[in-house]
């Protein structure tokens, strides 16, 4: 059978060499990722246009109108200062929204059964969905950064830090969104976390201000917010300034990414919210 992975023995017992399984898993991973990206591009008016409009408004209102009265922040205009935070905020929100709506939609429409009844291991399913969400996050990030360049000039100080930070941040919130979608039973359940958890954490994560401007204990409380590390690491990557050491930010982000990936894999393996 051309291109197939089935290699039955004479007595009828099937067997699959490791190399065959690896090849099959890579094909499956590519399939889920392609399907996710295709879905995102098919509904581009819902996935790519709204963040562009929202962020343009942020740049106009916060950057131009309010920013002109705020003055400089750590040696940069207020517009320049808020760009990294707004880019990261749009990446986080779009990754989360992408994976929750897509995976919960597949549960709601029951076509998640196509995945469950296939030979794919859990890590392939998870990686495929996360790759799709991260792709949307990065695409939105590029769009928002492009819009920002209409309002101000930017010189990327540390490209490697900027790139790794957005990929890590996007991965973390894609994983969090996947876990949310696994537990969700109704559409309301995927709206609660963005509204009551994600939005407050983002606004309090140093997008619009330096955490050093806060007095004790609010500065210490802010350090418990993981988004603060992402925003500041990305700001360091773009502007070369940040409120937290970049290695501390990497450590926090890696810990979150690994922890959330392990939880998501365990839930998938157990079939929580998916199998009876």
């Amino acid at each position: 059978m051309s291109g197939d992975v089935r290699e039955p023995l004479a007595a009828g017992v099937a067997t699959y060499p490791r190399a065959t399984r690896t090849r099959a898993n890579l094909v499956a991973l590519g399939t889920i990722t392609r399907r996710e990206v295709h879905r995102m591009l098919r509904i581009w008016t819902q996935t790519l246009v709204p963040p562009a409009i929202t962020m343009t408004l942020y740049f106009v209102i916060f950057g131009k109108v309010i920013g002109s009265r705020v003055g400089e922040m750590q040696g940069f205009t207020y517009m320049q200062y808020i760009v990294p935070g707004l880019v990261m905020m749009s990446i986080i929100n779009n990754c989360y929204a992408n994976i929750t709506s897509s995976f919960f939609g597949s549960k709601f429409g029951r076509y998640v059964e196509e995945l469950l009844a296939s030979p794919m291991p859990s890590w392939v399913v998870l990686t495929g969905y996360v790759a799709g969400a991260v792709t949307r996050g990065l695409l939105v990030g590029v769009i928002v950064l492009g819009i920002a360049l209409f309002f101000t000039s930017l010189h990327i100080a540390h490209p490697f830090v900027a790139l790794t930070t957005v990929v890590l941040g996007a991965t973390i919130f894609s994983l969090a969104g996947f876990i949310n979608a696994m537990f969700a039973k109704r559409f309301d359940d995927i709206a609660i976390v963005p509204t009551f958890v994600l939005a407050p954490l983002t606004y309090l994560g140093g997008v619009f201000y330096s955490v050093n401007m806060l007095g004790s204990p609010w500065r210490e409380v802010s350090l418990a917010n993981p988004i603060l590390y992402m925003v500041n690491a990305f700001r360091y990557g773009i502007l070369g300034v940040g409120d937290v050491p970049v290695w501390t930010a990497y450590a926090v982000m890696l810990a979150f990414a690994i922890g959330l990936a392990l939880v998501a894999l365990w839930l998938l393996h157990r079939g929580v919210g998916l199998r009876s």
Partner: protein, 329 residues
């Protein structure tokens, strides 16, 4: 489905030649499932399906059929017991088992915003089948199931019968050795149903083992060689279709008659019931001579203008099995 279809050859109804070394296509061993609600859906089900068989799994609603199929297709976690597909255990090698199986579920479960072609190619990808091969197979099966003209339209625009056929095409994308059909013809018209039968018998004749659940018992009687009946989470009958049908010792007929004016005649071994002024029902042992029935009716001034069997034979047995916990030889 065209009559000259390459897959139109009907499956042989003869016994299955199984080599001594050959493992069963499916072997279920003491499978149990208790849901979180406390409902015991399966209470120790054991059965075997030989390679190449066309096997009917019948039972009333809530009997445990869908739970059993759900466990085989990895959609339901079993509480205990095991199922082996071509020798591979669902516990030890879930991925290996899934590669053997094609599933046509009872409910429509594909993304209604995707096209049939996308659905088939994507599902093939989930099985690790390269895209080039997947595209060829998608075209082949969508054409064989006569929905190729809708291949690039959103599935939400398709009729119920087309959606059913798409689910069969999708299940064929990994060219499974075991095809499980959970009420595949529910709600489709007779013409489409027959074309689906033709396709499935062709698949079976080509060597694929088929397990069919259906509420159309004439479908099971016509297509399947072996049968298991499940009720209240347990197997109440598991035998060949021929053997099961031979257990039917009573036959019932509906007679269209004239001259049915007075009392019904008393005929030895025959129970007559008046349905209306022109219709009688006659129930008698399967060994009873029909000439004696006609003679008795004629002697009473009743003329039989036409007759037909009251119910499908398998339906009669099925009702007895699920109502009285089984008949035994």
């Amino acid at each position: 489905m065209p009559a000259d279809s390459a897959l139109s050859q009907p499956a042989s109804r003869g016994p299955i030649a199984t080599p001594a070394r050959e493992v069963p296509a499916l072997e279920v061993v003491d499978l149990r499932k208790t849901y979180a609600s406390g409902v015991q859906a399966l209470k120790g089900v054991s059965l075997a399906v030989a390679q190449g068989d066309f096997f009917a799994l019948l039972g009333p609603n809530g009997a445990g059929k869908s739970t059993l199929i759900g466990i085989l297709s990895s959609l339901v976690n079993p509480t205990s017991g095991d199922a082996r597909v071509f020798g591979l255990s669902i516990h030890a090698d879930r991925g290996g088992v899934m590669r053997q199986i094609g599933l046509v579920p009872q409910e429509i479960n594909f993304n209604q915003f995707e096209t049939p072609f996308e659905i088939c190619v994507n599902v093939a990808g989930f099985y690790g089948i390269p895209r080039v091969t997947a595209r060829v197979r998608a075209e082949k099966y969508l054409k064989e199931l006569r929905i190729w003209d809708k291949a690039h339209q959103a599935t939400r625009m398709m009729s119920g019968g087309m959606k059913r056929r798409l689910m069969i095409a999708r299940a064929m994308m990994n060219e499974p050795r075991l095809l499980i059909l959970d009420e595949p013809t529910a709600g489709v018209d007779i013409e489409i149903r027959r074309s689906m039968w033709q396709f499935i018998t062709g698949i079976n004749a080509a060597g694929t083992t088929v397990i069919l659940t259906t509420h159309y018992l004439e479908e099971a009687e016509q297509l399947c060689r072996n049968i298991a009946i499940i009720d209240h989470g347990g197997i109440v009958e598991n035998t060949s279709m021929r053997h099961l049908l031979s257990k039917l010792d009573v036959q019932s007929f509906v007679l269209d008659v004239t001259g049915l004016d007075g009392q019904l005649p008393r005929l030895d071994g025959v129970t007559l019931t008046r349905r209306d002024a022109q219709t009688l029902e006659a129930e008698m042992p399967s060994t009873h001579n029909l000439n004696a029935l006609f003679a008795g009716l004629t002697a009473s001034g009743i003329t039989v203008t036409s007759m037909r069997t009251k119910t499908n034979r398998l339906e009669q047995l099925f009702m007895r099995l699920v109502e009285h916990d089984g008949i035994r030889p």
